[in-house]
């Protein structure tokens, strides 16, 4: 509140003041922790409201189905694509092809990026050599270097996977690199004082303590992978979810577009849940010591 005169201080506080003031917490919560509280029901509510508005807008005919088809149209379309496929390819094959592109690129990025990131964290030589190229290409949108990929690697599978790979690679390298810093100096010193070699310290202390950051990096990386999928499948693809969305949009098949988007979101979300599950199993100690 801006007023400071003694007279105004005696007035009952306004609504704003009451909202702005921190209240004591219930037992079981911690006073002052930013943003604490359960959000499940609000999330359910948010989804329900969105669906309702969507349904309302289409049911009342406020928007043409060409722009926003009704929710039920999407479901119907999904069932029909599931049964008869899209452009002659079964639906599950589209899913399988896109998934294997994303996961192939993701695995490749992990296999190369994790060791490279760890090495960059461990060695100033590696950091000096690889920091400039990675920092250079990292902020460039994949669509910007897509033409180069095509010129260099053609319109085959290579440039598609490479494009996704590049978008996953940078966050994975950076995550592994900063994960190296997670080990406490005491943990490292303790290992050395038992006569550990540098390699043993790496293997037994630095690598395990980097796991939380590595898993987070993998989560972020695969997210980028799905984001880049559609761009990658702009390149002369004849199969895949990104291709499905793009070609449907050319024929103004809006239900397929929306359905494809939802399927991609769903697969990406499912994988995110999987990594979170792995996280709880692999690093249950995260943030607890």
């Amino acid at each position: 509140m801006t007023e400071r005169s003694p007279a105004s201080r005696r007035k009952a506080p306004g609504v704003l003041a009451r909202i702005a003031r921190a209240r004591p917490t219930k037992p079981g919560e911690i006073y002052g922790v930013p943003g604490q509280g359960n959000t499940l029901w609000l999330s359910v509510l948010s989804i329900a409201v969105l669906l309702f508005v969507w349904w309302l807008v289409t049911a009342m005919g406020w928007v043409k189905p060409l722009f926003v088809p009704a929710p039920m149209d999407i479901v119907t379309k999904f069932i029909s694509v599931w049964q008869t496929g899209f452009t002659g390819t079964p639906f599950l094959e589209h899913v399988a092809i896109s998934t294997s592109r994303v996961f192939g690129a993701f695995l490749l990025a992990c296999v190369i990026g994790l060791p490279l990131g760890l090495a960059m964290g461990m060695s100033p030589v590696m950091r000096g050599l690889f920091d400039p190229p990675i920092e250079f290409y990292r902020p460039i949108p994949p669509l910007a270097y897509l033409p180069l990929m095509i010129i260099w690697f053609g319109i085959g599978e290579t440039s598609k996977i490479l494009l996704i790979f590049l978008s996953v690679f940078a966050p994975i390298v950076l995550g592994a690199r900063s994960g190296v810093k997670s080990a406490a100096i005491e943990q490292i010193h303790a290992a050395y004082s038992f006569g550990a070699t540098r390699w043993q310290v790496m293997r037994f202390v630095i690598l395990p303590s980097a796991m939380p950051e590595i898993l987070t990096a993998m989560r972020i990386g695969i997210g980028f992978g799905w984001t880049t999928l559609v761009a990658a499948e702009m390149v002369a693809a004849t199969k895949g979810l990104g291709y499905m969305v793009l070609s449907a949009s050319q024929f103004l098949q809006t239900p397929v577009v929306i359905m494809g988007i939802i399927v991609i979101a769903f697969i990406a979300f499912a994988f995110d849940l999987l990594i979170r599950f792995v996280e709880r199993r692999v690093v249950p100690w995260k943030g607890r010591m």
């Binding site: 943990q187 010193h189 004082s193 038992f194 006569g195 037994f204 249950p284 100690w285 607890r288």
Partner: protein, 262 residues
């Protein structure tokens, strides 16, 4: 035999906007076999620097350290370190944490678990073998750290404020536990604290240090840990007239140092 620190100085070089620091200036000190040497002093007087030298993490700017006739050139399993905190590995359970030093030395699983179990028993941690370390209390975590340090049967046990993060009651119990282990295992100990009472109670030799430049100003020989190990209750030892007199003397030295520095 034992450790001798001969005319050791450490200067941390100047860094951006910070002048060079004379962390230690011409230290001479010996830690004989089975001796319990306590370093006491305000923070910044170079205690940890001294411990890092002995552990072999740091090499002196001048002077040298000799352990059993051999110059100290790096860390080694003959000197085990117990830290104040953050030194356990949370992805390993209690047993594997204690066995970690042996694992590093390439000792097979069943053998190292057998040895680790002995030390867990010695520190009163039986039954917690499978527990994740982050579920233990601070006092128990510290005992895990001590057990781990003992497994490789070091010549010297180096402890940098090992009890600094514990509450008063747990701390006194831990002091007694460490003394009993020292008595049973016949190790030499170098122990850092800034609690005067703890220093007097634990040590056979007390080294009082003072900052800028870090140096040893006084050395006392102490009888109190022996009295405790001979059966006198800890509180009675700490309340004895002799103890209180030395305590006040040491406190005066430390306060005088503080004033001289201020």
């Amino acid at each position: 035999m034992g450790l001798s620190i001969e005319d050791v100085s450490v200067v941390y070089p100047a860094a951006d906007r910070r002048p060079p620091v004379d962390a230690l200036s011409r230290i001479n000190l010996t830690i004989d076999d089975e001796e319990f040497v306590v370093a006491l002093g305000a923070s910044g007087c170079g205690k940890s620097t001294l411990l890092n030298l002995i552990a072999g993490f740091l090499s002196p700017t001048s002077g040298r350290l000799v352990l059993d006739g051999q110059a100290v050139t790096g860390p080694g399993a003959d000197r085990a370190v117990v830290f104040q905190k953050h030194a356990l590995l949370p992805w390993l359970n209690v047993l594997d944490n204690v066995a970690f030093g042996l694992q590093v030395q390439g000792i097979g699983k069943s053998e190292r678990h057998k040895i680790a179990n002995q030390y867990l028993g010695m520190l009163g941690l039986d039954g917690f073998q499978g527990a994740p370390v982050y579920t233990l209390s601070g006092g128990m975590q510290q005992r895990v750290g001590i057990a781990r340090a003992l497994t490789c049967d070091p010549r010297l046990l180096l402890m940098d404020e090992p009890l600094g993060a514990l509450d008063a009651l747990t701390r006194e119990k831990a002091q007694e536990l460490i003394l009993n282990i020292w008595n049973d295992t016949h190790k030499s100990v170098f122990f850092i604290t800034h609690s005067v009472e703890e220093a007097l109670f634990m040590g056979t030799k007390l080294v009082v240090m003072s900052p800028r430049p870090g140096r040893v100003t006084h050395v006392f020989d102490l009888p109190f840990s022996r009295q405790f190990l001979d059966g006198a209750p800890a509180r009675r030892v700490k309340a004895s007239r002799e103890f209180i007199e030395i305590r006040e003397e040491v406190l005066e030295i430390i306060f005088a140092d503080e004033e001289a520095a201020a």
